[in-house]
Symmetry: C2
DNA sequence: TATTTTTACGAAAACGTTTGCGATATGAGA
DNA sequence: TCTCATATCGCAAACGTTTTCGTAAAAATA
């Protein structure tokens, strides 16, 4: 049934044209040393014979794959898909392919993915750390071989690799200050493991904003969760159990925030009148949940583009020049109904 | 700064052990012809020297990449990520890698992705068609080379490739019948291009359910949109302009349905009292929107597993046996508040 | 002991491309 | 006519692995 037709090579083209494979090879890559007319003949014959370049053989010879690996901690998010779109835009422009690997927020899978991409001999790596990734050892292998690694969003501070991030401290500060401006006095922060630096920064911004406005910082107002769906419910129940009741919540994840709001509402809390809520990421749910969710928006597409540009830059430079180590992308507070308290 | 250490090969191991590269190669792949003790020595030396197998050379020699390509029409959806998880589970079990390609619901990109994966010489393909993909020509190249292609979810009916789908007709019928059972008499269907067979099937189910229950089928109640965010708003406005007002809506996409509900509510429509709503996919938004959205649920993970198993089966069979051409996975109606009319 | 079988390994070709270097032909300049 | 650039192209090695076939030694059999 299936007919496996013979794969045709540059030898076949060479033979048909009474040329050498070397000339055919050069002709196909538009080498200036080949006569224009010969090139034409080669191209035509290649098309006629249904030739397809054997990337594997080419990769073996050149020791390059023209592929860059992307490791993401999740896929089901507007932010990540925007980043991927940005990466793809730049890489295809530069003639590189991408391989997307998904860690499912799982350190073990992230390591497996890194090893896999290393095996596949990608020319570069763009990655965002999983939730529980404790160290960067699995990226060391790339650096040892001179393969550029660029981190985005979820990064490790004390690493001298290139990082593309937002100012999480500022975002946390802004969100908190906004709640304060709405008249909130008791603001709960729901966030994740402070080891992961994005969360620590947001925490620090939250803390400093409180102090700057003469509000007390209380440990019991900081809830460390996993930002899952369940987490939203738990956070809400926790908040409901507090006395006095908080009047503002800053949850560093939109989906969790939405679930939390829902649970609060089910228990008779009015949002934003009783409790104002701010999320993080500007996910699609922000506009679905009622009231619509105030959040921190940041440009995924742009971050992807910057990361990709940086990798390709490193790839094209022969010299090992000094590189920018951290690129901070602007982020902004998007005020919606969930935090707009009546004055 | 970056030190590119010399890549070590089986020759280096062979030399160090005074063996031939052939023996080392066999030893590394645990070939039964090699003495156990020799294998051990090879493994140890490989580890000591920091050997990593050159997949590219191996691929060139074996003419296999042990990689299967996955083309998806979107990433930002629970369904798709579940499918990917299912595919990954099976493929890694079988020792295959996957390359995820994203078509962004764009035919041109889908073609580019297919060509790319063809270039990369993947051993198999799992794919779901983009919104506007008019034909399957870009998959013909795989079939010509005997590379298995499996379609899932968005498939083309009149193709003899393997397809993993749900019974969209039944789903459409069920959803409509449910609305009828709730007392709806004027049910609007919001769906997408009927050329894409999933949408046609749902449409057919909707139509037949109406007729089976002695309700009139009216063309004006069928709204063909693109199931985007904007589409939800448009559908709502259209519905509001109708006279008499419809009392039920079946939108074949959860996110659009959520936006539509929102717009309807903003115009004073009560859901489900005035209009009952049913979506499709069981996305995360179903539980965020208020009231929670009745929808059709189907098992992405399982579909991914089945698709992957099928590809691998085809890969491992030497003989070109006859294959199952269509696998239908169960789907079910999930009733939530958005459609529960008070009796 | 002679012969066959088994066990363990090696030689070398093959996968298809790229590329440094050499070779040939053509025309210009002396 | 001879020399020397210049323009085109071919030779052959290299990339690192896998695998067919062959061989030598050891073990088993006659």
């Amino acid at each position: 049934m299936r007919h496996k037709s013979k794969e045709i090579t540059i030898y076949d083209i060479a033979q048909a044209l009474e040329l050498s494979p070397a000339t055919v090879s050069r002709g196909l890559q538009n080498h200036p040393l080949i006569k224009e007319e010969t090139k034409q003949r080669i191209l035509e014959k290649a098309l006629a014979l249904g030739y397809r370049r054997n990337t594997i053989a080419s990769n073996l010879r050149t020791q390059k794959t023209h592929t860059i690996g992307v490791i993401v901690h999740e896929l089901n998010s507007n932010f990540i898909t925007s980043v991927l779109a940005g990466i793809e835009k730049i890489t295809t422009q530069a003639g590189y392919d991408i391989i997307i690997a998904h860690s499912y927020e799982n350190y073990t899978k992230e390591v497996a993915n890194a090893n896999n991409l290393f095996q596949k001999r990608v020319d570069g790596i763009i990655t965002s750390l999983a939730f529980d990734t404790p160290n960067l050892d699995h990226y060391r292998q790339f650096e040892e071989k001179g393969i550029p690694v660029v981190f985005f969003d979820r990064v490790e501070e004390n690493s001298d690799s290139v990082k593309v991030i937002i100012d999480n401290y500022r975002a946390g500060y802004q969100a908190t200050e906004h709640l304060i401006a709405q008249g909130c006095k008791r603001i709960v922060l729901v966030t994740a493991n402070l080891q992961r630096n994005v969360y620590f920064k947001r925490y620090a911004g939250y803390k400093d904003a409180l102090l700057a406005h003469q509000l007390p910082f209380e440990e019991q107002y900081v809830l460390i969760k996993d930002l899952s769906e369940q987490c939203g419910v738990e956070a809400a129940l926790h908040i409901l159990s507090m006395n006095p009741l908080p009047d503002g919540v800053f949850i560093t994840n939109d989906f969790s925030a939405a679930v939390c709001m829902q649970t609060l509402k089910e228990h008779g809390i009015r949002i934003p009148e009783d409790i104002a809520v701010v999320g993080f990421n500007n996910d699609a749910v922000c506009k679905i949940i009622e009231p619509k969710l105030t959040t921190i928006d940041y440009p995924g597409m742009e971050m992807g583009e910057i990361a990709a540009k940086n990798v390709i830059e490193q790839l094209q430079e022969e010299a090992t020049t000094q590189h920018i180590s951290t690129i901070v992308v602007r982020s902004e507070l998007l005020v919606r109904a969930s935090s707009a308290k009546p004055q």
